[in-house]
């Protein structure tokens, strides 16, 4: 077992593995209490600031349209996430109503100051980037974004210029770029080597490990923070594993569910700053955050997890 690379971690967080695991099974009924462990923080290399190692995605899960019931449910997810110590929420203009759902949730929870607002610019005509960003910010109802990323490298040269200008003038804290599904890794590597970006977002999970070959080491070398998307392959990993027994060693790393094991695999990579699972369930949001507490998988357990998942899915 290896300890996660943490910068500012509470003592409780380090002690929390087993307690957190037991707690997650109770959370749906007992709710969140102040005694529960806080998620571990990881350092953003370009600033030295800490950020919880688990964030919250919003693709599909938060695109619920106008339904008041479903919007309220998303607010409950955000509430649970914040109460358990979460901060980073990731969205994009590509995600339908997700941005406005997040904005309404932040306002009703009074969490505009807590959130590490992470959004994207996604438009082919780079001249339209600033307008899209302004529209996104209005939907989020935040004074400014913490991190803006060029979504899937669309128009990346022009958009990066816009984002660097925003950062320069204090209207943005961090600049990043995203990809997913293992797409365009070569282009991404070139951008990472050349451009002074703060964050890169990519897919890395127990089944999609291509990023570990080149991109993750490169991020470490260049001091670029890494956000991991699709940690559960949009449920393609968690759903089939749900009915399977956990490996007998899961307790050793304080994992009480497959989801936590999968996240502990991701967070075990020293280049990873944060993973951003998406969920519609408040107790899953907490369970996921808790995966960042306690030990992560060491090289041997990671190999065993890979082998086990390969036989099960």
């Amino acid at each position: 077992m290896i300890e996660p690379r943490v910068s500012r971690v509470s003592r409780r967080a380090l002690l929390a593995g087993g307690a957190g695991a037991a707690l997650t099974t109770l959370l749906p009924t007992v709710g969140w209490t102040a005694q529960t462990p806080v998620p571990s923080l990881r350092t953003i290399p370009s600033s030295g600031a800490g950020i919880p190692a688990i964030g919250l995605g919003s693709w599909i899960t938060f695109n619920v349209g106008d339904s008041p019931v479903l919007r309220a449910r998303c607010t409950e997810v955000m509430d649970a996430f914040f109460q358990a110590g979460g901060r980073m929420i990731d969205s994009s203009p590509m995600y339908g109503s997700a941005q406005s759902v997040i904005g309404d949730g932040l306002r009703s929870l009074g969490r505009a100051d807590t959130v590490f607002a992470t959004d994207k610019v996604w438009i082919s005509d780079t001249d339209d980037g600033p307008d899209q960003i302004a529209e996104s910010r209005a939907l989020w109802q935040v004074p400014k974004f913490d991190l803006l990323q060029v979504h899937n490298l669309v128009g990346w040269e022009g958009h990066l210029r816009t984002l660097f200008e925003m950062k320069q003038s204090g209207r943005l804290s961090y600049v990043g770029i995203t990809t997913s599904h293992g797409r365009r890794h070569r282009d991404l590597a070139e951008i990472m080597a050349r451009e002074p970006i703060d964050f890169v977002q990519l897919t890395y999970n127990v089944r999609d490990r291509a990023a570990a070959d080149r991109l993750l080491p490169l991020a470490q070398d260049r001091g670029i923070a890494v956000i991991v998307n699709r940690p559960f392959r949009r449920g393609g990993l968690t759903r089939p594993l749900e009915s399977q027994a956990l490996p007998d060693w899961a307790g050793e790393v304080g994992a009480s569910t497959w989801a936590q094991l999968l996240l502990k695999f991701i967070l075990a990579h020293p280049a990873v700053t944060s993973a951003i699972p998406a969920t519609t369930q408040p107790h899953h949001a907490i369970e996921n955050l808790m995966a960042s507490t306690g030990p992560m998988l060491d090289a041997d357990l990671s190999r065993r997890l890979i082998a086990q998942v390969e036989t099960l899915i």
Binding site: W59, I60, V64, G65, D66, S67, S97, R184
Partner: protein, 249 residues
């Protein structure tokens, strides 16, 4: 390589299946009680199509086309431009296509004289239209969703499109031939069936078979040779009762 080429259908699916059905339910609540009108319109279309000659005095083509064109416009603006757009930013871009289809239907209706429908084409067409009006709305309760989430002809795209495919096949059998205008009016409904099938299938919704099968039936029916497609209708046409009339008549 162009970034857009690296996207797959799954990447564009921005909502889950429960959210999609919830959106339909909200759409129904917003537009209630228009459902009664659109269903009556569908029923009226079915009756006129059954024997257009009985309505010869009222220009049966327009009797059919006006309510159907209104349904397409309503689905375009109300469903795509309003309800569906709330979870799918691409929906709004399809509104002009639905309005174009509405115009095409009006144009085809103005030119339609109408003979007695007959042959395989008519059977398939009436089957599709009846399914669109009665069968498709039942999918929601069959799948365990509330009746208030039913997809209704004239308000939801799938039954409207499937009904239109049926209607075009009936019109073809009445005229005893595939006119260019009717063939053109088939394009957008078939395209929508493709879009709907991909969307539902990507969401793993079993209902995806409905638009796929409807489109398949329409394509097969449309490619049947004239004689087998409209056998019997020829009699009506030869006797001068079922001819396409010039535009603006």
């Amino acid at each position: 390589m162009n970034t857009w080429l690296t996207y797959r259908a799954e990447d564009f699916l921005m909502f889950s299946e429960p959210v999609y059905w919830q959106m339909i339910q909200t759409h129904n609540a917003v537009f209630w009680p228009l459902h009664i009108l659109t269903m009556l319109a569908g029923l009226g279309i079915l009756i006129v199509l059954g024997n257009p000659m009985r309505f010869a005095r009222f220009r049966p083509g327009l009797l059919i086309a006006v309510p159907l064109a209104a349904c397409w416009a309503l689905v375009g603006v109300g469903f795509l431009g309003h309800s569906y757009a709330s979870i799918n930013w691409a929906a709004e871009r399809l509104v002009p296509l639905f309005l174009l289809q509405s115009a095409l239907i009006l144009l085809a209706g103005a030119r339609f004289g109408g003979g007695t429908p007959n042959g395989i084409s008519a059977v398939l067409g009436f089957g599709l239209l009846a399914y669109a009006l009665v069968g498709h709305p039942l999918l929601a309760p069959l799948a365990g969703r509330p009746v208030s989430a039913a997809e209704v002809f004239g308000l939801a795209p799938d039954p409207t499109v499937i009904g239109t495919l049926g209607l075009l096949m009936i019109a073809r059998s009445s005229l005893n031939r595939r006119t260019a205008l009717l063939s053109l009016a088939l394009v957008i409904p078939i395209l929508w069936c493709g879009v709907s099938w991909i969307t539902l299938d990507t969401m793993d919704a079993w209902e995806s078979w409905a638009p796929a099968v409807a489109a398949l039936i329409a394509v097969i029916g449309w490619s049947l040779p004239e004689r087998s497609a409209s056998e019997g209708a020829a009699t009506a046409t030869r006797s001068g009762r079922g001819a396409e009339k010039p535009v603006g008549r």
